[in-house]
């Protein structure tokens, strides 16, 4: 099991900036070093581990200490007079439980669980609504309905408390009646004591346990899975009719004046604040980013976008395993020295036989940029952060048609759910994970690790796979910068402008609107793009407006996806953007950006490309310099044994491939594990596998863009895995070098205007060429 884990506060820094590292280490002490990451592949057939130790003041021996993650989202309202001096009162909330039977779950609580002090409206062990009081001396008393609720259904939940008689009434009312299901009830009882007064914050979706070590938020317990909507606390023992008035916001003044708090979650959906609309203004915050912009109890289905009907999106969905910021204390820092050139680095921590890496990027000082830049796809790494492909979904092995292999981090993450999930995983309640952050140890964004999706051979995916590109750039002696796509998101085209050519990673799949527009505009303002992977520019994600390092997705409508969002939840809570596939969003999409778009996937073995007629077009001569006419391209490699594999893309005019694009070469002879992507299937028919289907292929693609720009796309995640083959001496390396050298040369591409070619399908493009 992993004994050292860690993360950094920043992912991209420039000379003069300071980056902090947070470390959990079970050893007494550890050695920390800053290294430059060049190659992270342990495969003996590959370049091996190559890293360069950088002499910095951060290197040294540090005392180890255990740091833990307190996962689980909740809402928190600071304690205050009105909440501390309740006499007779009523608490109510609409609840949509997703795991009602998991045990005690707090809904609305003014309850310090450590000393059992206060009161709480909860789901108890029966799966039904209950009201709990604690005397502050370790005793609790409960009045419970005692009837389990149905998962994924809305209920009205409430409790009233008479301070003089200590009489409690608890309500549980389903919004939908199922004739044979007994899930409605009103329980009345008398508790043995009044709830003890306390200074604990009011919490929703959790009990309060203690402050976190940093003291800014709380450690909770009894985390709730599901949605809460319209929580309120009102002075007095309310009748059911009065409760309904509070819920519907139609309370007369006399009742309204008794409101202690009524939180309207439809206000500031994109923020982490919650707003109390009572005159007390007991505003609060949500912690660990529960999902907002989700349908409320009153959603009619008529409106799909929360911005258009906020009043129907007054729910927040909480999860026991949400985690935004691990919140650890800082263990050491590094001020980036001026001498540190732009590149891919990591803080390496070692103790005994254990080791951890915390990667980061040093971008160049403004004005000191080189001609070539690798765009470190942190957005896509975040999407896959701490994925559980190997241990959660049973379909994984059918997708790979190879045995599941567990590396150390897989075993650790399966047991340590508090490290959070990826956008491919499901929460403990079975619903899809919409939000992923880098402010936690991301244990699959490391050198040396393997991942089952990465194909036979090196088995690399994302970060470590991309070191096949960095090791090649080093070996070929290119001088290059590294920046992250987060920098592109925040900086736009200005951060790209200095470069003659930018290179993507092997799988730049997740793009925000800012990123998409910046890269596209760059290619139309004279920039050159080398798209070095497969299935890029595919999903539209949102960055949070105010919280750094976190993205949200709703896998709307279709696409190759690990889960589907619920109806009415296709727009992100972070920004209100329509999420899902870029290709469904007007003149956007991978084919528009790079000439090619996701066409097929499989994860067993890779294959080669064969040259198409377009490769003999004079416009593409520079690409194939030194390559024979009949030469198979990339029939070797570290990822599945070939350059075409994992996820592959094709040209398709219908989806936006520029009509003058050249389809230079295409892969063939994929296994039947490779299947056409689901978004291309209108009817599901036999013959969609790699041995038969025309669309199961990757296309090498080149075209010129306005103002001297150009695009070259390899359309395969495995391409970079062939670059280092045979000590970088091979035809994949040759082609890549031909293109990179030409793209780095600012000489404009010769342009001659031709009549527009007739619309053609992807097959014709491959076998007859661009001008067919």
């Amino acid at each position: 099991m992993l004994k050292i884990t860690g993360y950094s506060d920043e992912i991209s820094v420039k000379p003069g900036d300071t980056i902090s590292f947070m470390v959990n280490c079970e050893h007494f002490e550890y050695q920390a070093d800053i290294i430059r990451v060049i190659s992270g592949d342990l495969n003996p057939q590959g370049p091996g581990i190559i890293e360069e130790v950088i002499d910095t003041p951060a290197s040294g021996t540090y005392r180890g200490r255990k740091q833990t993650i307190h996962a689980g989202s909740y809402a928190m309202v600071p304690s205050s007079g009105p909440l501390e001096s309740l006499g007779n009162f009523t608490v109510q909330v609409m609840v949509w439980p997703s795991t009602p039977r998991k045990g005690m779950q707090a809904l609305v609580s003014k309850f310090s669980n450590a000393d059992k002090r206060g009161w709480a409206l909860v789901i108890d062990e029966s799966g039904g609504i209950a009201f709990v009081v604690g005397d502050g001396k370790g005793k609790v008393d409960t009045v419970a309905v005692g009837k389990p609720m149905v998962e994924y259904e809305w209920y009205f939940a409430a409790a009233s408390f008479n301070a003089r008689s200590k009489k409690v009434t608890v309500y549980q009312e389903p919004m939908v009646e199922y004739p044979t299901i007994d899930d409605q009830g009103v329980a009345q009882g008398k508790v043995a004591f009044k709830p003890a007064k306390n200074k604990a914050p009011l919490m929703m979706a959790a009990f309060y346990e203690a402050p976190t070590p940093r003291g800014d938020v709380a450690i909770g317990s009894a985390y709730f899975n599901g949605k809460l909507d319209s929580p309120a606390i009102v002075e007095g023992v309310l009748s059911r009719v009065e409760m309904e008035m509070i819920l519907s916001r139609k309370a007369p003044t006399t009742l309204k004046n008794r409101m202690i708090a009524a939180w309207d979650f439809s206000i500031d959906i994109s923020e982490d604040t919650i707003t109390d609309i009572s005159s007390h203004r007991l505003n609060g915050q949500v912690v660990h980013l529960p999902t907002r912009g989700v349908t409320g109890y009153n959603w009619t289905g008529e409106e799909q976008r929360w911005i258009h009907a906020r009043e129907q999106y007054g729910a927040i969905k909480f999860h026991e395993d949400d985690v935004y910021d691990a919140g650890w204390d800082i263990d050491f820092k590094l001020k980036i020295p001026a001498s540190m050139k732009s590149g891919l680095y990591a803080a390496r921590v070692r103790a005994g036989n254990d080791e951890e890496y915390m990667p980061f990027v040093v971008r160049p000082k403004p004005g000191k940029e080189k001609k070539i830049c690798f765009i470190f796809p942190i957005t896509s790494y975040k999407a896959y952060a701490n994925e559980h492909f190997a241990t959660d979904p049973w379909v994984a092995e059918i997708m790979t048609h190879r045995n599941v292999e567990l590396d150390k981090h897989h075993i650790f993450l399966n047991e340590h759910r508090e490290y959070g999930h990826s956008l491919y995983d499901r929460h403990a309640d079975g619903t899809g994970v919409h939000i992923s952050s880098r402010l936690r140890p991301v244990l699959n964004m490391r050198p040396k690790i393997q991942t089952m999706l990465g194909g036979d051979g090196s088995q690399l995916w994302q970060f470590n796979a991309d070191t096949h590109l960095t090791v090649w750039l080093e070996a070929m002696a290119y001088d290059f910068d590294v920046i992250t796509d987060e920098d592109v998101h925040y900086g736009g085209t200005d951060v790209l402008k200095p470069y003659h050519v930018i290179l993507t990673g092997s799988h730049p799949e997740y793009y925000s609107k800012n990123m998409f527009e910046a890269v596209f505009d760059y290619t139309h303002q004279g920039g050159r793009l080398m798209y070095m992977g497969g299935n890029g520019f595919y999903w539209r994600v949102s960055y949070h407006n105010s919280k750094p390092g976190v993205i949200e997705i709703r896998r709307a409508e279709g696409g190759s996806r690990a889960w589907a969002p619920k109806s009415g939840e296709y727009y992100t809570g972070f920004t209100g953007e329509y999420s899902g596939l870029w290709r469904r969003q007007g003149r956007s999409g991978p084919n528009v950006m790079a000439g090619v778009g996701f066409s097929a996937e499989g994860f067993d073995i890779s294959t080669y490309y064969r040259r198409n007629p377009d490769s003999f077009n004079t416009r593409a001569e520079f690409v194939f310099e030194g390559i024979e006419k009949d030469e198979l391209i990339g029939d070797f490699g570290l990822i599945g044994g070939g350059a075409a594999g994992l996820e592959v893309d094709r040209v398709e005019r219908e989806f936006g491939t520029p009509p003058h694009a050249l389809c230079l070469a295409s892969s063939e002879n994929h296994t039947d594990t490779y299947l056409v992507v689901v978004e291309d299937l209108l009817f599901n028919t036999p013959g969609s596998g790699g041995q038969e289907n025309e669309f199961v292929r990757g296309d090498l693609c080149f075209y010129e863009t306005p103002n001297g720009g150009a695009v070259f796309s390899v359309s395969s995640m495995a391409w970079v895995g062939s670059l280092p083959w045979n000590n970088h001496d091979n035809n994949v390396s040759r082609i890549t070098k031909n293109v990179l050298d030409r793209f780095a040369d600012p000489t404009p591409f010769p342009i001659s205007k031709e009549p527009a070619p007739a619309m053609k399908d992807s097959y014709t493009w491959r076998v007859k060429g661009s001008t067919a």
Binding site: N403, N414, K448, D604, D672
Partner: protein
Amino acid sequence: MTTMTRYQITDDDRKWIETFKEKPVGIHPPELIRLLNRMRGEPIDGKYCLIIDKPHEQWVVAEMQGRGLPPKLLNIRVKNRKDGEWEIFKLRWQRHTGNAL
């Protein structure tokens, strides 16, 4: 057992055993794919897998026990993935047919 396929493995499938043993990963005939879909589609609880013991050198066959639980190690070590495929294929054949290979 929850799996994607309802296909039941019978003695008729014996004819694909050698084909699989020779090339466990790669282009396969449709009937062997059907057999493997059944085997590889096991639910996570009890699914056979390989644990990387020494990267690219040694693996241990294990049985997963589900979400949140550690895998159960079996006393089978292999020196390459091809052997790992064969060891797990044998275990699955036994599980599905009741017969040892």
